[in-house]
Amino acid sequence: MLTAEEIHEIKEEFHLYPYKQAACIEALKVVQKHRRWVSDENVKDLAELLEMSADEIDSVATFYNLIYRRPVGKYVILLCDSVSCYIMGLETVLQHLERTLGIKYGETTADDRFTMLPVPCLGTCDHAPAMIVGKDLYRDLTPEKIDEILNSYK
């Protein structure tokens, strides 16, 4: 069941588009904001609210990189795996994250704190390597810097 708050927030988005199906991505974002990820049940509920089929909603949800259809941890780490970061030492940064967190891409730490995912170029290539944790961007990454950053997310 979607909460009253979620339904309210989704309906607010309807005003920005000529018909409510166009707010499909916005609706997925709202659910994810409240629940971290979008479950099968959420998809069905959204289908009812938007008067679309659940398959249609799922085809949209699974298309986009930043809609999660599986559970994720409290903070999602998006590590840039594109070309400038590759040149500037992505491998070292990735290995350090894997070792420190004990997870690989797509996995979540046992304490449910972090999920790590690769992401295309974060548009900060002059400060590569780069990653996002939660909503925050970190640049010019080194193993030392990463330790400090991870410790600040409890």
């Binding site: 920005l16 588009y17 000529p18 199906q21 166009a22 707010a23 499909c24 991505i25 916005e26 997925l28 974002k29 085809s59 949209v60 298309f63 986009y64 990189n65 930043l66 809609i67 998006l78 795996d81 594109s82 070309v83 400038s84 590759y86 040149i87 500037m88 992401v119 295309p120 170029c121 974060l122 548009g123 900060t124 290539c125 002059d126 400060h127 590569a128 996002i132 909503k135 961007l137």
Partner: protein, 423 residues
């Protein structure tokens, strides 16, 4: 040298909000534009030789002129393309975060020129700070009467909204972007009909890049002649935000006239290569442009010159390859990106890109055979221009085909030595 786009951006890149922006002459172009005829603005921009900064380099005023100006429409739309997911590209972020009102002002002038009444600023989901900055600036612009149902009490109506995306490079392709804005999967659309005639929700629509739009206030304020005079290349108006990343001494962004040489960018602005490294090549305008190498250092950075050298100016932000980074590894990284980001709609791209990636991985792992190079070569033709539904796949082939041309011996070395000698 004038730098209209960036002169008001603070060195630390912190955003300029409305009071300050207005005190520096901001929003003058809105008053001026609203007193002009829409067609007059279109002509002015056409004459300014402003070309689209999203990569394709099409004359902006000419593009606008395809929007029907007669007849009844439910809406006409203007969309700012802030998807910026092309690897190696980081210029639009600076313009959005550093001076959001310049973008909004440019959008008002543009909207008036095509008589759009609704607009969206489409920003990639990872740019959370840029989205915050735009949301605040939009609220300020509404408050000040520059946006809304009766702009500056002239009766002109333009409502502008922020849309944050949820990832996928293909959203940057303008027709895919429109599908995404409609809440759908971001597959590109067939053209014709072109978006100018039937775009967002079936209505006439212009999609322009962020940097393109940020030029509009300056053209309206200072005229076409002035704008052409900013450039060293006749026919390409204005300045360009150039950039460099990779192992140069001072990676960054610089607003410079069209027509500066690649050498000047690399040596003066980017400070040359880091100590102990040599320049091996660069992708001059993002991941989907062909490599340029040492013999090209003296070419001028404008659309025609870069094209004559076999590449594209693209987004103008170059990725520099040094002699200690494996070129096969770099191309593998690029093709991995393109394979992941293929929207899957057409077969050559959906199947061909993962295939290409696999072969490159095999070569990089020392398991390649000479005939693999022929297969790669075949793919560059098979996914070249005209063989796929949109320009993503041909873009993906650009770095590959040029790497096969300029770095062939490095590919062969991997195959002969059964390993990557850069590791």
């Amino acid at each position: 040298m004038e730098r209209p786009l960036t002169k008001n951006i603070r060195p630390d890149g912190k955003p300029l909000f409305i009071k300050e922006y207005e005190s520096l002459g901001g929003y003058q172009s809105v008053k001026k534009a609203l007193a002009m005829q829409p067609k007059e603005i279109q002509e002015l921009v056409k004459k300014s030789n402003l070309k689209g900064r999203g990569g394709a380099g099409f004359n902006t005023g000419l593009k606008w002129s395809f929007v029907p100006m007669q007849g009844e429409f439910e809406h006409k739309y203007l969309v700012a393309n802030g998807d910026e997911m092309e690897p190696g590209t980081f210029k639009d972020r600076l313009l959005i975060e550093g001076n959001p009102h310049q973008l909004i002002e440019g959008m008002i002038g543009t909207a008036f020129a095509i008589q759009a009444d609704e607009g969206y600023i489409f920003i990639r989901g990872e740019y959370t700070y840029a989205a915050e900055v735009v949301a605040k600036a939009l609220a300020e612009a509404y408050e000040a009467g520059y946006l809304g149902n009766n702009i500056l009490k002239t009766g002109y109506k333009f409502n502008l909204h922020l849309h944050t995306s949820v990832g996928r490079y293909i959203c940057g392709e303008e027709t895919a972007l429109l599908n995404s804005l409609e809440g759908k999967r971001a597959n590109p659309r067939a053209k014709p009909p072109f978006p100018q005639v039937s775009g967002l929700f079936g209505q006439p629509t212009i999609v322009n890049n962020i940097e393109t739009l940020c030029n509009i206030p300056h053209i309206i304020n200072n005229g076409a002649e002035w704008f052409n005079g900013l450039s060293l290349t006749p026919g390409d108006g204005g300045t360009k935000i150039f950039g460099a990343s990779g192992k140069v001494k001072k990676p960054g962004l610089w607003e410079l006239p069209f027509g500066v040489t690649l050498r000047e960018l690399l040596e003066e602005h980017a400070g040359g290569m880091r100590d102990g490294l040599k320049f091996k090549g660069c992708l001059p305008g993002g991941a989907s442009t062909d490599f340029l190498v040492e013999q090209h250092l003296d070419i001028r950075m404008d659309y025609a010159s870069v094209a004559a050298a076999g590449s594209r100016l693209g987004t103008g932000t170059m990725i520099v390859l040094d002699d200690k980074t494996c070129p096969v590894g770099m191309v593998l990284n690029l093709e991995h990106f393109f394979a992941q980001e293929s929207c899957g709609f057409c077969t050559p791209c959906r199947e061909g890109l993962p295939w290409t990636e696999k072969i490159l991985q095999k070569i990089e792992n020392g398991k390649g055979e000479m005939k693999d190079l022929d297969i790669l070569q075949f793919h560059t033709k098979f996914m070249g221009p005209g063989n796929t539904f949109c320009a993503l796949a041909p873009g993906a082939m650009a770095p590959l085909q040029s790497a096969l041309k300029y770095f062939r011996e490095d590919f062969e070395l991997h195959i002969k030595e059964h390993k990557c000698s850069w590791k």
